[in-house]
C-alpha cells in the first residue's frame, strides 16, 4: 500500500500550462506574472514541491528586475535574487543530508547535477560579498533552466526526458579493508588502541558517509526506502568473502560443528556492526535478511568465485554464525529470522538438496530456547518427512464451504452498497428543513454521484 502525494494541481495539464507560462516566451512578463499568481494560490492549497517554491521566488525576482526603473536601488533586487538562489540550493541539498554526519553541499550538488558555480555563488552570497547583479541574473537564468530540465520535463513527459544518470557510487571495499586492518591490529594488541582509535573513528565516519551517499543515489523520495537501499548495498558488501566471512576457511567457524563464530573474527567486526546499528536501527534486520537470502539461494555467492562444496558449506556456516550472533537475545528479530528462513525452506527439501543443510541447522539453532519456535520448526520438519499426512484430501464438500464463504462476502458488499442511501436518509431526517439558508442536501434523486474530492458534479 503506497499513499499518493497531495499535489496543488488537479491534473498535469495545469502544471503544463504553468510551465508554458514560464518558459514559452522568456520575454513575456505578463505570462510570468500569471505564473507567479498561480504559484501563490497553489502554495495556499498545499505545501509546494521545492522546485516550484524556488521557481516562484526566482520569477518574483526576475519580474522585479524587468519592471525596475534605473533610479531605484539595485540592492533590494540583488538581495531578492540572492535569497532565491540560496534557498533553491539549500532546499535541494538539505533533504539529501540523509546520513548522520553532514556532507559538503558541493558533493551533494554534484550528485544532483546542480552546476557547481551555483553552489559557489550560494556560498558567496551567504558568507561573503553579495555578488553582482550581472552574475545573479546569470545564475537565475541558469537555475530556471535547470528546473526546466530536472523538474518540469521529467515530470510532464517521463518517457522522453533524459534519464537521470546517477554518479556511480564509490566502492566500499577499500574502506572495509582499511577498517579490517585497523581493527585487526587493535584486537591483537589492545595497548595500541589509543594510538589507532582516531584512525578507526575516521574510518567509521567514512563508512557512515558512504551510507549517506548511497542513500542519496537511491531512486526514491522516501527516507525509509532510501535508508533501506543503502543498507542493502552495505550488507551486500559485508557478506562478500573477505569481509564478514574471512577468505581463509580456517578463520571462519569454530570447527565444532556448531553455529559459533571465532572470537578474533567477532572482535574485528562487532565494533563496526554495533556502530552502524546505533545509527541505523534497521541495520540488524537488513543484515539478517540478506544473510538468510544468501543461505537460501542455491547458487554460490558470486559467479566467479564458484568454489567446491566444502567452500560453500563453510561460507554458509560462517554466515549462519553471524545470523545467530546478530539475533542475539532479541526475541523479535529471532522470530523474524525464523519466519524468513522457514519461508524459504520448502518442506522435504532437506532430503533432496544437501546444500541447504546449513539453513536447516540454523533453523534448529534459532528455535532453541523458544518453545513456540521449537514446535513450529518441528512441524516443518514433520511436514517435510511426511507430506501426505499434512495435506488433507480434497473433498467435494470443501467446494460447498468455499461457495458459502463467497456468498457471505458478497452479501457484505451488498449491505455496504445500501448503506449509502441509508446514511443519506438518516442525514435527511436529522436536518431536513432545518438547514441554513442557501444550503441543501444533495439528494439521491439528483444527478450527483460519488466522485473524488475536488470534482464538481452538478446536482
Amino acid at each position: 500500500m503506497r499513499l499518493p502525494q497531495r499535489t496543488p494541481w488537479a491534473s498535469l495539464q495545469e502544471l503544463d500550462q504553468l510551465c508554458s507560462w514560464v518558459y514559452a516566451d522568456p520575454a513575456d512578463s505578463s505570462a510570468k506574472s500569471l505564473a507567479v499568481q498561480r504559484l501563490s494560490a497553489w502554495r495556499v492549497i498545499t505545501a509546494l514541491p521545492h522546485a516550484l517554491e524556488s521557481l516562484s521566488s526566482l520569477l518574483v525576482a526576475v519580474l522585479e528586475d524587468e519592471s525596475r526603473s534605473p533610479s531605484t536601488p539595485a540592492l533590494s533586487l540583488r538581495q531578492s535574487y540572492a535569497a532565491a538562489i540560496i534557498r533553491l540550493i539549500n532546499g535541494f541539498v538539505d533533504p539529501l543530508q540523509v546520513g548522520v554526519y553532514a556532507r559538503s553541499i558541493a558533493s551533494i550538488a554534484a550528485q544532483l547535477g546542480l552546476p557547481s558555480w551555483l553552489v559557489e555563488l550560494r556560498h558567496a552570497a551567504t558568507h561573503e560579498d553579495l555578488p553582482s547583479l550581472e552574475l545573479l541574473r546569470d545564475a537565475a537564468r541558469e537555475s530556471l533552466d535547470w528546473l526546466l530540465h530536472n523538474y518540469f520535463l521529467p515530470l510532464l513527459n517521463p518517457a522522453s526526458a533524459q534519464s537521470h544518470i546517477p554518479a556511480p557510487l564509490r566502492p566500499l571495499a577499500p574502506l572495509l579493508a582499511q577498517y579490517k586492518h585497523l581493527a585487526k591490529v587493535v584486537s591483537r594488541d589492545t595497548s595500541l588502541t589509543s594510538r589507532y582509535q582516531p584512525d578507526i573513528d575516521r574510518t567509521l565516519r567514512d563508512i557512515e558517509r558512504w551510507i549517506a551517499e548511497a542513500a542519496v543515489a537511491a531512486h526514491s523520495t522516501d527516507d525509509v526506502e532510501r535508508t533501506a537501499f543503502s543498507l542493502d548495498r552495505l550488507t551486500d558488501e559485508l557478506l562478500h568473502r573477505g569481509a564478514l566471512v574471512p577468505l581463509s576457511r580456517k578463520k571462519r567457524v569454530i570447527p565444532s560443528g556448531q553455529v559459533l563464530l571465532p572470537a578474533p573474527l567477532l572482535a574485528i567486526w562487532a565494533p563496526l556492526l554495533t556502530h552502524i546499528q546505533t545509527h541505523h536501527a534497521s541495520f540488524g534486520t537488513a543484515l539478517v535478511t540478506r544473510a538468510i537470502a544468501r543461505l537460501l539461494s542455491s547458487s554460490s555467492e558470486d559467479g566467479q568465485e564458484k568454489g567446491s562444496e566444502h567452500e560453500r558449506a563453510s561460507y554458509d556456516l560462517c554466515v549462519a554464525g553471524w545470523v545467530m550472533w546478530l539475533v542475539g537475545a532479541d526475541a523479535a528479530l529471532r522470530e523474524e529470522a525464523f519466519v524468513r528462513l522457514a519461508g524459504g525452506l520448502r518442506p522435504g527439501q532437506e532430503d533432496e538438496d544437501r546444500s541447504f543443510r546449513t539453513a536447516h541447522a540454523l533453523l534448529a539453532a534459532l528455535s532453541t530456547s523458544d518453545h513456540r519456535l521449537v514446535s513450529a520448526s518441528n512441524a516443518i520438519i514433520v511436514v517435510g518427512k511426511d507430506p501426505q499426512s499434512a495435506t488433507p484430501a480434497w473433498e467435494d464438500r470443501h467446494m460447498a464451504v468455499m461457495e458459502a464463504r463467497l456468498q457471505s462476502v458478497l452479501g457484505n458488499d451488498a449491505e455496504a452498497g445500501e448503506s449509502g442511501t441509508q446514511i443519506q436518509e438518516e442525514a435527511r431526517k436529522m436536518f431536513d428543513g432545518r438547514l441554513p439558508r442557501g444550503w441543501r442536501l444533495v439528494g439521491s434523486e439528483s444527478a450527483w454521484k460519488p466522485c473524488p474530492i475536488g470534482v464538481y458534479l452538478p446536482a
Binding site: M1, R2, L3, P4, R6, T7, A10, R38, A41, R43, V44, I45, G91, D94, P95, V100, Y101, A102, N150, Y151, P158, A161, H164, T190, T193, T221, V224, T227, Q258, P262, P264, L266, A267, A270, Q277, T278, H280, A281, W325, L326, G328, D330, A416, G420, I423, M430, F431, L435, P436, G438, R440, V442, S444, K449, P450, P452, I453, G454, V455, Y456
Partner: protein, 762 residues
C-alpha cells in the same frame, strides 16, 4: 568460547549479584520487585531518567542517535527499555533518591572509561545502557586475555520481555462474572446491550482494550487516575492500543457516602459478595469508532487484539482483557508526582463564592500534558458539577480537531484518547494551523477572547440551567454547581517564541495553580516558585509508550480530523455534547454533500496562513476547491448579500478580499469545520461536507491545515488507489508513485533536519 546467547545470559545472571564491589558508596542496594501498587510511579520515573553519559565517546553515540531510530524503531526501543530494566530495581527500592542516582552514575563513570580498556569493554554497551550502579563493570581480567566478543547486537529487554501484570482478576463465570439480563440492566439504569457484572476483590486489577460502558454498582474503583464511586452514572471508556490502556483497580477510598449509595444489586450476585471489594458492570459499547482505524491506516486494528498480545475475551464483545503489558500494549500509570499534585487539588477546600480555581498545565511536547489535564479535569468533576477546559494546543487538541483554540465545558468525566471524544465547544476560534508560529498575536487574541467569555459567562455559572444542576438523587455526593473551575492545557512548543507565548497565556489566565511537566533535570516533586511567583507543581514528564511513537503527531491530527468528519452530531446538539457514534461506512468522497448557494449563504471567504495575502481574487476559487475550512459566525458582518434563484450561469466571484485579516476573535466564533469537496465552474455553488451544518456561519476561513490524505481516499478498497469516477491511480490533487523514479528532482516539499552532526562531532 561463549556463544552470544550464553554470554548474555551469564552476564544477566551476574547482574544483581555483584553490585557492591564496583559501586560507589551512596548506591542503594537492589531489592526484589516492589509491591505492585507502587510500580506505577517508579516505572515511569525510571523511564524518564535520562542517560547521562559523560565520556566523550559515549555522549556522541548515545545522545546523537539520529531521529530515524525513533521513527523506524523496533530495535531502538531496546535502548530505553533495557536501561529501565536495569535501573528499575534500584529505583524501586527508594524512588525518592533517583536524583542522587543520576549523579551517582555520572560520578562513577570516569572509572570505567579509561582508554586502555576501551576496547575490552563490549562495544555494544555504551550506546544502549545508562550506567547502572548495580551492573558489574566489565573489565574483569579474564576478558582481557581474549578480547571479548560483543555479546549481542541487539540488546533484548523489549517491554515484552519484562511484562507487567495488568490483570490479576480471574474471571469465573457465575462466580465473579455474571451475565446481566435485560431486566437487570434496566434496573441499573443501563441501556439494553449485553452486559456482565464483575465482583472484584480488593486486590483485583483489570485491564482491557476495546470500548465499554462502565458502571459501578458498589464500592469504588480507580480508572485512569480517577476514582469512580457507586452511582447511577455510567461512563464510556475507550481503550485503543495506540494509547496507554486503563487499569481498573479497586480503590481503598470508600467514603461513607459511597458505601450506602450502592444500588439495587441483582440478587444472584449477593452470594458472592464480600464486605470489601467492588461490583462493576461492563457493558458492550458500539460506537463505530473502530472504523476510524480503517480510514487512517496507521491506526489499523487499534481496538482489536493482535494474536500475540495474549488477550482474552470477557464474555461480552468489544472488550479484551489484557493480562500483561507487551510491546504493543502499555498501561496507563499515574506517576507519584502526579498523584501527589492531584491529591493536593482534591484536598484544597473548594471555593464557593469567589472566583473558582484555575489550573494551568505546561511542559514540553510528549511530556503528558494532555493526559494530566484530562485526569485533572476528571478529578475536578467529582467535586464540581462542571469543569471548563481551555485548550491552547493547536496541534493536538483534546476536544476539537486541531487548528483551533477552544473553551469546552465538561459535565462527565472522559476516559480515552482525544479522538474518542470530539465535543462541541462552548466557544472556539479557528487559527488554521497546527502551531501558532505564523500568527502568534491572533492566537493570543483568541485565547484572551475565550478567557473573557469564561469570566463573563462560565466562571460563576450564569448561563447553565440551574434546575438541571440537581445531581441525580442516587448520587449522594454533592457537587458544586455554581462555580466552574478552569483547566488550561498549553502547547508543547516550549522553546523560544513558544515559551514566550506560554508565559503570556499564563499571565492572561492568572492561574491559582501551575503544573509544570518536566523531564527530570532538576530536583522534582517539590513545590517551587516559578518566575511569576505563583506556586508551580513540578511534575514528572511521562513520555508516551515507545510503540505509540510509531504514530506521528501528524497521524494523530489526521485521526482527530477524520474522527470529526465521521462523527454523528444530532441536530439539536448543544455545546458540551460529546460524540457517541461514528459512521465510517462511507469514505468522504462517497458522502452526498451539501450544496451551498454562495450568494445566499456565504458573506466572506478568508484565507490565512503564510503567503495567503498573495492570492489574487482570480485564483480564489481555485484555492477553495478541496480546502478544509472553518465555518465562522461573525457578529460584525451584514450577512450574505445576494438572493438565491438568480441566473444560474452568471459568473459569481467569491466574496473574497485579498489580504483580509482573520475574523476578530472578540466578534466571532468558529462553529464547525467543513471540507469544500467541490466548487462549481462559476463559483456560484460549492459542495460542502460537514458533520455539523450550522446556520449563522457565513464566513469561510481557510488556514494552513489540509484534509489528510486519508480523507481523500476510499478506505473500503484495499489498494486505496481506486476512486469512484476516476481512472485507476489517477485522481485530481493526488499523485501516485514516486516522482524521483522519473528523474524528477525537487518534487517533494522542503524538509529540514536539525540533528546533523558536523565534522569532529563524534
Amino acid at each position: 568460547m561463549l556463544s552470544a546467547v550464553a554470554a548474555r545470559k551469564a552476564r544477566l545472571k551476574s547482574t544483581p549479584a555483584n553490585s557492591a564491589p564496583v559501586t560507589p558508596a551512596p548506591s542503594p542496594a537492589p531489592t526484589a520487585a516492589a509491591p505492585r501498587g507502587e510500580t506505577g510511579g517508579t516505572i515511569s520515573e525510571s523511564r524518564t531518567t535520562p542517560a547521562k553519559p559523560s565520556s566523550g565517546k559515549r555522549k556522541a553515540s548515545s545522545s546523537n542517535t539520529p531521529k530515524s531510530t525513533v521513527k523506524k524503531a523496533r530495535h531502538s526501543k531496546s535502548k530505553e527499555t533495557t536501561r529501565y530494566f536495569l535501573e528499575r530495581k534500584v529505583l524501586e527500592s527508594d524512588s525518592e533518591s533517583d536524583a542522587s542516582i543520576i549523579v551517582d552514575g555520572e560520578d562513577s563513570e570516569p572509572g570505567i572509561t579509561g582508554s586502555a580498556d576501551a576496547l575490552s569493554r563490549p562495544p555494544v554497551a555504551p550506546p544502549r545502557r545508562a550506567y547502572s550502579p548495580s551492573r558489574p563493570v566489565e573489565d574483569s581480567s579474564d576478558e582481557e586475555v581474549v578480547p571479548p566478543p560483543s555479546t549481542e547486537l541487539h540488546s533484548s529487554g523489549s517491554p515484552s520481555s519484562v511484562p507487567l501484570t495488568l490483570t490479576s482478576f480471574e474471571p469465573l463465570f457465575n462466580e465473579n462474572v455474571f451475565e446481566l439480563t435485560l431486566q437487570e440492566c434496566k434496573s441499573c439504569g443501563l441501556p439494553g446491550e449485553p452486559a456482565v457484572a464483575l465482583v472484584l476483590s480488593p486486590s483485583d486489577t483489570l485491564s482491557f482494550i476495546g470500548t465499554a460502558r462502565i458502571c459501578v454498582l458498589r464500592g469504588s474503583v480507580s480508572l485512569f487516575g480517577t476514582t469512580l464511586h457507586a452511582s447511577s452514572a455510567s461512563c464510556t471508556v475507550f481503550a485503543p492500543k495506540s494509547s496507554p490502556v486503563p487499569v481498573l483497580e479497586v480503590s481503598g477510598d470508600q467514603g461513607e457516602s459511597s458505601r450506602d449509595a450502592f444500588r439495587q444489586l441483582p440478587e444472584r450476585l449477593l452470594g458472592s459478595l464480600k464486605m470489601e471489594g467492588a461490583v462493576i458492570v461492563l457493558q458492550e459499547l458500539w460506537t463505530g469508532v473502530e472504523g476510524l482505524g480503517r480510514i487512517v491506516r496507521t491506526f489499523d486494528g487499534f481496538f482489536t487484539p493482535s494474536t500475540d498480545d495474549g488477550l482474552e475475551d470477557l464474555f461480552i464483545s468489544g472488550v479484551h482483557v489484557v493480562r500483561t503489558s507487551s510491546r504493543d500494549v502499555q498501561p496507563f500509570q499515574l506517576p507519584s508526582s502526579w498523584k501527589l499534585a492531584l491529591d493536593e487539588v482534591d484536598a484544597t477546600a473548594p471555593v464557593l463564592a469567589s472566583s473558582p480555581p484555575a489550573f494551568f498545565v505546561k511542559g514540553p511536547k510528549n511530556s503528558g500534558k494532555s493526559s494530566f489535564s484530562r485526569t485533572l479535569a476528571n478529578r475536578l468533576l467529582s467535586r464540581y458539577r462542571r469543569v471548563a477546559y481551555l485548550d491552547c494546543d493547536l496541534g493536538q487538541s483534546e476536544f476539537t480537531p486541531g487548528g483551533m483554540v477552544a473553551l469546552t465545558v465538561l459535565e462527565e468525566p472522559i476516559f480515552g484518547p482525544p479522538f474518542t471524544h470530539p465535543t462541541i465547544p462552548y466557544q472556539a476560534h479557528y487559527i488554521g494551523s497546527s502551531s501558532p508560529r505564523t500568527s502568534p498575536s491572533h492566537y493570543l487574541d483568541s485565547i484572551e477572547a475565550l478567557l473573557y467569555v469564561y469570566r463573563l459567562d462560565i466562571q460563576l455559572n450564569t448561563v447553565f440551567d440551574m434546575d438541571a444542576d440537581m445531581d441525580a438523587p442516587s448520587t449522594s455526593v454533592h457537587r458544586i454547581a455554581n462555580a466552574i473551575p478552569l483547566v488550561v492545557n498549553t502547547m508543547g512548543w516550549s522553546k523560544g517564541l513558544g515559551a514566550d507565548l506560554t508565559r503570556k497565556i499564563e499571565q492572561l489566565v492568572t492561574p491559582t495553580s501551575v503544573f509544570a511537566l518536566e523531564f527530570p533535570h532538576i530536583p522534582h516533586g517539590s513545590t517551587t516558585l516559578d518566575s511569576d511567583g505563583s506556586p508551580a507543581h513540578v511534575l514528572h514528564a511521562v513520555p508516551p509508550p515507545e510503540h505509540a511513537l510509531r504514530q506521528t503527531a501528524a497521524d494523530h491530527r489526521a485521526l482527530a480530523l477524520m474522527s470529526y468528519f465521521h462523527a454523528i452530531f444530532p441536530r439539536d446538539a448543544r455545546p458540551g455534547f460529546t460524540v457517541q457514534r461514528w459512521d465510517t461506512r462511507l469514505p468522504l468522497c462517497f458522502v452526498p454533500p451539501y450544496e451551498i448557494e454562495v450568494p445566499a449563504a456565504v458573506s466572506r471567504v478568508i484565507y490565512t496562513g503564510v503567503g495567503a495575502e498573495d492570492v489574487v481574487p482570480d485564483e480564489a476559487a481555485l484555492v477553495l476547491n478541496g480546502a478544509l475550512v472553518a465555518l465562522v459566525r461573525t457578529d460584525d458582518d451584514v450577512g450574505p448579500t445576494g438572493a438565491d434563484g438568480l441566473d444560474d450561469d452568471s459568473p459569481c466571484p467569491l466574496p473574497y478580499e485579498q489580504g483580509a485579516p482573520p475574523p476578530d476573535p472578540t466578534l466571532s466564533a468558529c462553529l464547525s469545520l467543513a471540507l469544500v469537496r467541490a466548487v462549481s465552474p462559476t463559483s456560484r455553488r460549492i459542495h460542502l461536507l460537514t458533520p455539523r451544518p450550522v446556520s449563522a456561519a457565513h464566513t469561510l476561513v481557510k488556514g494552513e491545515l489540509e484534509i489528510p490524505i486519508w480523507g481523500m481516499l476510499d478506505h473500503t478498497t484495499s489498494s486505496l488507489d481506486i476512486l469512484p469516477g476516476a481512472e485507476h491511480g489517477n485522481a485530481p490533487y493526488l499523485r501516485w508513485g514516486s516522482a524521483r523514479a522519473d528523474g524528477v528532482v525537487g518534487g517533494e516539499k522542503r524538509r529540514v533536519r536539525r540533528n546533523l552532526m558536523r565534522k569532529g562531532q563524534m
